[in-house]
C-alpha cells in the first residue's frame, strides 16, 4: 500500500522520497493479537488460578497455622501430677534475656503448702511482651523446663501496661487461638 502524497508544488525531492512500510491497520485478527496477545498470555495464568479457589486468609476470622517450633507467647508449666509449679524462681531466664524483659522475685517455699517443687518459688514472674523479642533464650536457660514459648502470636493490646504478663497469666492454659501446621504441611 502506498501513501498518497500531496503533489510537490515547489520542491521535488526526487529519489529522496522514502516509502514508509507500516504494520497492519487496527482491526482484524492480527491486529487484535498484536494489541492483546501478551495480556491474554498473562490472563491465562490469572484465570488459571481462578479455578483453584481463593488463597487469602480471612484474618482474624481465619489464622495462619504456625510451625511446631514457632516462638510465640510464653507459657509457664506445672507438674501434671502434683500441680506444683515447675518454676523455682532461679532468675536464670532473666539473666539470659537479651531484651531484659523478665522480672523474677523469688521467695521461700512453704514446705507445708508448697507452690513449686523446690526450696524457692517465683512470687513475682513478669514478662514485658512489649519488649520481648521472642528469641527463646529463656526457654534455653531454664533448668526445669518451666518456661516454653507457645504458638500464640496475637499479643496486641491497647495499653502498654497490659502487655506485662504476670505469672497467673503465663500459668493459665492459654486459649489456643493459633492453629498448628500439621506434619509435613
Amino acid at each position: 500500500m502506498s501513501v498518497e502524497l500531496p503533489k510537490p508544488t515547489v520542491y521535488d525531492p526526487g529519489d529522496d522520497v522514502v516509502e514508509v512500510v507500516r504494520g497492519p491497520d487496527p482491526g482484524g485478527a492480527a491486529g487484535f493479537y498484536r494489541a492483546f496477545g501478551e495480556t491474554l498470555r498473562g490472563l491465562k495464568t490469572t484465570l488459571g488460578r481462578l479455578v483453584e479457589g481463593p488463597v487469602t486468609i480471612q484474618y482474624p476470622e481465619e489464622k495462619t497455622p504456625v510451625y511446631p517450633r514457632f516462638r510465640g507467647r510464653h507459657k509457664l508449666h506445672k507438674f501434671e501430677d502434683s500441680d506444683l509449679e515447675k518454676c523455682v524462681g532461679c532468675s536464670l531466664c532473666a539473666a539470659a534475656c537479651p531484651a531484659d524483659c523478665i522480672r523474677v522475685v523469688a521467695t521461700d517455699n512453704d514446705p507445708n503448702d508448697p507452690t513449686s517443687a523446690g526450696e524457692r518459688y517465683a512470687a513475682v514472674y513478669e514478662i514485658n511482651m512489649a519488649r520481648c523479642i521472642f528469641c527463646g533464650y529463656c526457654e534455653v536457660a531454664c533448668p526445669f523446663d518451666a518456661i516454653t514459648l507457645g504458638h500464640d502470636y496475637e499479643l496486641a493490646d491497647y495499653n502498654r501496661s497490659d502487655l506485662i504478663f504476670t505469672k497467673e497469666m503465663l500459668l493459665a492454659e492459654p486459649v489456643e487461638r493459633t492453629p498448628l501446621r500439621r506434619e509435613g504441611e
Binding site: 523455682v88 532461679c90 532468675s91 532473666a94 539473666a95 523446690g118 526450696e119
Partner: protein
C-alpha cells in the same frame, strides 16, 4: 576546649582511634592521636603493696625482704615468706583456692585446690601453705598440676548436689567459678550423693545446707580462731562430716554473719536474704555503717531501690573485712512499719502527719521565737555535715551556743586537745601491732565490736600482751594476761593507781579506792613498762560517770607518763559512746569549743546543763537523731526536762520515747544507705557515707532540713548539695583543711596523716593535778546491798528491735550477779528481784548469775524500761537486791 578537640579530629591523618579528651593538648603536634599501649601491666607488680585503707605500714609490723622467684616461667618479685597463693598474684597468676583465706590466720590446706608443682619437690604442694622462697620455680599449669586440679574439682563435686538454680550462691559462687576455670567439666561419679535434711536453721539469721558443704573449714576456723566463740565444730567423721554447733543449739554470736560471706559455696546462707535476689538482679553500693563507733565499711546490696543485704567491704585499716551482726542484719528495720517516713506535728496529745512546708514553718517559727533560748543535741549517727550546719543554725540563725554532741558535763579544752594530739592517737592497724594492749573501762564487743576482733588478732597472731581493766567482766578476759576488776564507776581511781604503780609508788590505798586488787595493777604497770609500743583503749563511757572529769585527766597523765607521743605505733584510742562522737567534736558541736577544738567565743551549756535549764532558761530543743531519754545515763531526768520544754523538734526515724512523748514537730530522719556525708572514725579517719537508695516515703536529708529551717529564719547557708557543706567544713575546720570527697575516696583518710593536722591548737598543759579519789562504796557485811553498775548491750536500739532476725536477741531486763551473791540472796538465774535504793526508789529486774562477776557487784542492763532507767539514772553506788 571543644574547638581544640575538633581541630585534632580534622588534622587527624589516620583513622580516628579514640580521639579523646586525653589528646586534646597534643593537637599541635604532628601526630594528634596516640594509640593506647596494648602491653599488659599486671596490677600486682607493686611489691610493697599495702592492704586497702593503709597509707603506710604500721610501725610494729616487721619488714619483709623482697625475693624473686619464677612462676610459670615468669620472674616475679614478691615479699619473702608470704604464701605462694599470694606471691603468685604479684606475677598476675591466679591459683584457685577454697579454704585459704588470709583473714582467718594460718592456712590449713584442707581443700587441696591450690596444688602446684615446685621444682625440686617430688610431690605437688599446696600453694596456700607453702611460703615463697628466693629462687623457687613454681608451675601452676603443668600437666601434673592440671590433672590434680581437675581431679580435686571432680572430688569436691562428687558429693555436691549441683542445685545451682535453687542455690542462693549461684552466680557469685567460687565453686561455680573454679569448676568452670579449673575443672574437667564432667564427672565419673555415678553413685548416689550424700543426703542431709535441708535446709536447716543454724541460727535465726543463718541457714545451713549441709549437702552443699565442701568441708573447707572456713566457718569453723572463724568461730574457733577469729571471733573465738568456739561454737561451730565439724561433727561426725568421713562422708558424714558436717558443720554444726558443738551442743546442737543455735549459733548465736555477735559476729556470726561473717560465715555467710566466708562460705565459698551455698552451704551457709542468710535467712533474711535467701531467695530475695540473684547476683544479676542487684547493685552493690559502698558506704559506711553508722550504728557504732566502729564505722565498718559496708556494701549495700540493692534491688528495686531497697537494701536487700549488707556485706562487709574490706578496709584493712578499719574493719579488716569483718562486720558484726548488728551492722549486717539491722537493715531489716529500715523497711519496717515502725519507721517514721513523714513529718509530724503534735496536735493535742497526738502526733499528726503534716506537709513538709507546714512542718518546716511551724518548726522555724518555734525556733525563731525561742532564739537564743534554744538548745540542741546531736546524736551518734549525725554526719559531720549535719553537725556543721547544726552549729551554724544555732550560732548564726538563733544566736544560741547551747548545743552538744556529748552527754554529761563539758569537756575541758586542754584535756580534749591533749587526747586529740595526732602523736598520741592510735590508728586501728597500730592496735594490731602493739605489743601491749590495755583496755580500760570498755566492753569492746558491745561498744565497738569490730575492735574486739582486732585485739584478738593482735594477741593471737602478733603475740601482744593484753590487760583488761573493767568493772564488769569482759569477753576479752580469756585472752588477757592480766585481768583487773574495779568497783563500777571507779575508773579514775583505777587509772590513778596505775599511774602510781608506773611511777613506782605505793598503790595499796588507791587500789582499794578503786575497789581493785593492787597486785593486778602492778602487773598491768609492769606490762606497760616493758612494752615498746603500748596501746591504751579506753571507753568514753567512763567520762559520763560522776567521776568523769577526773578520769579524763587521769587518762591524759597516763598518756604523758607512758610517753605515747614519742613512740611511733604507740598511743591511745578513745572508744566514743556515739558513732560519730569524734567527728562531731572536731567540727565543733561542743558548747565550749569551736571547730578543730579551737577556743570558742561563746560558752554554751553542756547536755547536763541543758537538761536542767529546759523549761526555765531554755524554751526549745532540737534533737538531731538522738533520744536523750535512751542515750544518756540519766534518762529519767531528760524525760522530765523534755516534758518541761514547750518546743521539742526531733529528727528521728523511730517513735522513741522522746519523740513519742515530747516532740512537737518530728522530721523523719534518714537511715544508713539514704545518707550522704562524712563521718570521722575514732582513730581520726574521715570516711564517706554514700547514698545508695532513695529516701523512704517523704524522708528528706538532715542537712537539707537544717538549711530550710535556717532559710525560714532568715539565714542563707548557701548550700544546695551536701558536698557544699563538706567544702565548708574543709574551709572552716582547720584540721580538716582542704579535705574533699575525692581525697576521702573509698577507704577514707586519717586527718592526722595530712599536713593540716598541725593546725590543731596545742594544749596549754597536757598533765593535770589529780585529787585523791573518793573511796569505793562498801556494803555493810551481811547486808543485801551490792555495788551497782550498768552496761549497754550491742543488741539494743530501735534498729535492732525492728529487725526480724535480731529482735530475739534483745533482752528486756538483766541483772548480772555473781553465783556467790545469788546463793547468799537466795536467787537463781531467771528469778525476778527488786532493786531498792533509798534515794532513787525501787524497780524489778531479772537475775542472770554469771561466774565471772566479782562478788559484791551487780550490773544492770541499760534498757528501755522506765523503772530500770530511773534507778540507773540516779547512778546510785549501792543498791539493795531482794528476791
Amino acid at each position: 576546649m571543644p574547638e581544640e578537640k575538633d581541630m585534632s579530629g580534622k588534622s587527624n591523618v589516620g583513622e580516628s582511634v579514640d580521639a579523646g579528651e586525653e589528646n586534646v593538648t597534643s593537637s599541635d603536634s604532628a601526630v594528634a592521636v596516640q594509640v593506647p599501649s596494648l602491653s599488659y601491666e599486671s596490677p600486682f607488680t607493686v611489691v610493697d603493696a599495702l592492704p586497702p585503707g593503709y597509707s603506710k605500714r604500721p610501725a610494729g609490723e616487721p619488714e619483709r625482704n623482697v625475693i624473686s622467684f619464677t612462676i610459670d616461667g615468669a620472674d616475679v618479685r614478691a615479699p619473702e615468706g608470704i604464701m605462694l597463693v599470694d606471691a603468685a598474684k604479684y606475677g598476675g597468676v591466679e591459683i584457685p583456692v577454697f579454704c585459704y583465706e588470709p583473714k582467718l590466720g594460718a592456712p590449713v590446706g584442707a581443700c587441696r585446690m591450690c596444688l602446684v608443682e615446685i621444682e625440686g619437690i617430688p610431690k605437688l604442694q599446696t600453694a596456700c601453705s607453702t611460703p615463697v622462697r628466693d629462687g623457687m620455680a613454681v608451675s601452676t599449669r603443668s600437666p601434673r598440676v592440671i590433672e590434680a586440679q581437675n581431679s580435686v574439682v571432680e572430688f569436691i563435686l562428687a558429693n555436691h548436689p549441683l542445685d545451682c538454680p535453687v542455690c542462693d550462691k549461684g552466680g557469685e559462687c567460687p565453686l561455680q567459678d573454679i569448676s568452670y576455670g579449673w575443672g574437667r567439666g564432667k564427672s565419673r561419679f555415678a553413685e548416689p550423693k550424700r543426703h542431709f535434711e535441708k535446709p536447716v536453721a543454724l541460727s535465726p539469721s543463718i541457714a545451713i545446707d549441709r549437702e552443699r558443704c565442701i568441708l573447707c573449714y572456713r566457718c569453723v576456723r572463724f568461730s574457733q580462731e577469729v571471733s573465738e566463740d568456739y561454737q561451730l565444730v565439724l561433727l561426725d567423721r568421713g562422708a558424714d562430716s558436717h558443720v554444726g554447733t558443738f551442743d546442737g543449739n543455735e549459733y548465736v554470736a555477735p559476729f556470726s554473719g561473717n560465715i555467710i560471706d566466708l562460705c565459698p559455696v551455698g552451704a551457709l546462707t542468710s535467712r533474711a536474704y535467701r531467695f530475695r535476689a540473684r547476683p544479676w538482679d542487684i547493685e552493690q553500693g559502698g558506704s559506711v555503717c553508722s550504728m557504732c563507733p566502729g564505722q565498718c565499711n559496708v556494701d549495700y546490696t540493692v534491688r528495686d531501690d531497697k537494701v536487700m543485704r549488707v556485706q562487709a567491704r574490706e578496709n584493712a585499716a578499719v574493719d579488716d573485712g569483718w562486720l558484726c551482726d548488728r551492722g549486717r542484719f539491722a537493715y531489716q528495720a529500715w523497711e519496717s512499719d515502725a519507721r517514721i517516713t513523714q513529718p509530724m506535728i503534735r496536735q493535742g496529745e497526738k502526733l499528726m502527719p503534716a506537709r513538709w512546708d507546714h512542718a518546716l514553718e511551724v518548726a522555724a517559727a518555734a525556733l525563731k521565737k525561742s532564739g537564743p533560748r534554744t538548745a540542741a543535741l546531736a546524736g551518734g549517727g549525725t554526719t559531720n555535715e549535719e553537725g556543721w550546719l547544726l552549729r551554724r543554725l544555732m550560732l548564726e540563725a538563733l544566736g544560741s551556743p547551747h548545743f552538744d554532741s556529748r552527754r554529761g558535763g563539758k569537756l575541758d579544752a586542754d584535756v580534749a586537745r591533749t587526747l586529740t594530739e595526732p602523736a598520741v592517737t592510735l590508728s586501728v592497724p597500730d592496735v594490731e601491732w602493739a605489743d601491749a594492749i590495755v583496755v580500760i573501762g570498755s566492753e569492746l564487743v558491745d561498744e565497738m565490736p569490730i575492735l574486739d576482733l582486732r585485739v584478738r588478732k593482735a594477741v593471737n597472731r602478733n603475740g601482744a600482751a593484753l590487760a583488761v581493766a573493767t568493772a564488769r567482766p569482759s569477753s576479752l578476759d580469756d585472752k588477757a594476761s592480766v585481768t583487773a576488776r574495779m568497783a563500777p564507776g571507779r575508773d579514775d581511781a583505777f587509772i590513778q593507781a596505775l599511774l602510781a604503780a608506773l611511777a613506782g609508788n605505793d598503790v595499796g590505798d588507791l587500789a582499794s579506792r578503786a575497789g581493785a586488787d593492787a597486785e593486778n595493777i602492778s602487773q598491768i604497770a609492769g606490762l606497760l613498762k616493758n612494752a615498746k609500743r603500748p596501746a591504751v583503749l579506753w571507753g568514753e563511757r567512763m567520762l559520763y560517770a560522776s567521776t568523769g572529769t577526773a578520769s579524763a585527766k587521769a587518762i591524759c597523765n597516763l598518756v604523758a607518763m607512758l610517753g605515747l607521743a614519742a613512740t611511733d605505733g604507740a598511743g591511745h584510742l578513745q572508744i566514743p559512746v556515739q558513732a560519730n562522737g569524734r567527728g562531731l567534736r572536731e567540727v565543733g558541736v561542743l558548747p565550749n569549743l569551736g571547730p578543730a577544738l579551737s577556743d570558742s567565743a561563746t560558752q554554751g551549756m553542756s547536755s547536763d546543763e541543758i537538761a536542767d535549764a529546759l523549761g526555765d532558761e531554755l524554751s526549745a530543743i532540737l534533737l538531731l537523731g538522738t533520744d536523750p531519754i535512751l542515750d544518756s545515763p540519766d534518762g529519767a531526768r531528760w524525760d522530765a526536762a523534755l516534758r518541761a520544754a514547750p518546743n521539742v523538734i526531733a529528727f528521728s526515724s523511730w517513735l522513741d520515747p522522746a519523740t513519742e512523748r515530747h516532740a512537737t514537730v518530728v522530721f523523719p530522719a534518714e537511715v544508713g544507705p539514704e545518707k550522704e556525708g562524712t563521718l570521722t572514725h575514732p582513730d581520726g579517719r574521715i570516711q564517706r557515707l554514700r547514698q545508695t537508695v532513695d529516701h523512704a516515703g517523704e524522708v528528706n536529708s538532715g542537712w537539707w532540713v537544717l538549711d530550710q529551717l535556717a532559710a525560714r529564719i532568715g539565714v542563707d547557708f548557701g548550700v544546695k548539695v551536701v558536698h557544699q557543706v563538706t567544702a565548708q567544713i574543709a574551709e572552716g575546720v582547720s584540721i580538716y583543711a582542704g579535705i574533699s570527697s575525692n581525697e576521702i575516696g573509698g577507704t577514707g583518710v586519717r586527718w592526722q596523716e595530712r599536713t593540716a593536722a598541725s593546725n590543731l591548737p596545742a594544749p596549754a598543759r597536757s598533765t593535770f593535778d589529780l585529787e585523791i579519789p573518793p573511796a569505793a562504796p562498801q556494803a555493810a557485811p551481811g547486808s543485801s546491798s551490792l555495788r551497782f553498775g550498768t552496761f549497754r548491750s550491742l543488741w539494743s536500739g530501735a534498729d535492732v528491735e525492728n529487725a526480724a532476725t535480731l529482735a530475739p536477741l534483745v533482752t528486756a531486763s538483766r541483772l548480772e550477779l555473781s553465783p556467790a551473791d545469788g546463793q547468799r540472796l537466795g536467787v537463781a538465774t531467771g528469778d525476778s528481784v527488786t532493786l531498792t535504793n533509798a534515794a532513787e526508789g525501787k524497780t524489778t529486774a531479772v537475775v542472770a548469775l554469771r561466774d565471772a562477776v566479782p562478788t559484791g557487784s551487780a550490773f544492770l542492763l541499760d534498757s528501755q524500761d522506765d523503772g530500770l532507767r530511773r534507778i540507773a539514772a540516779g547512778r546510785p553506788e549501792l543498791v539493795e537486791v531482794t528476791p
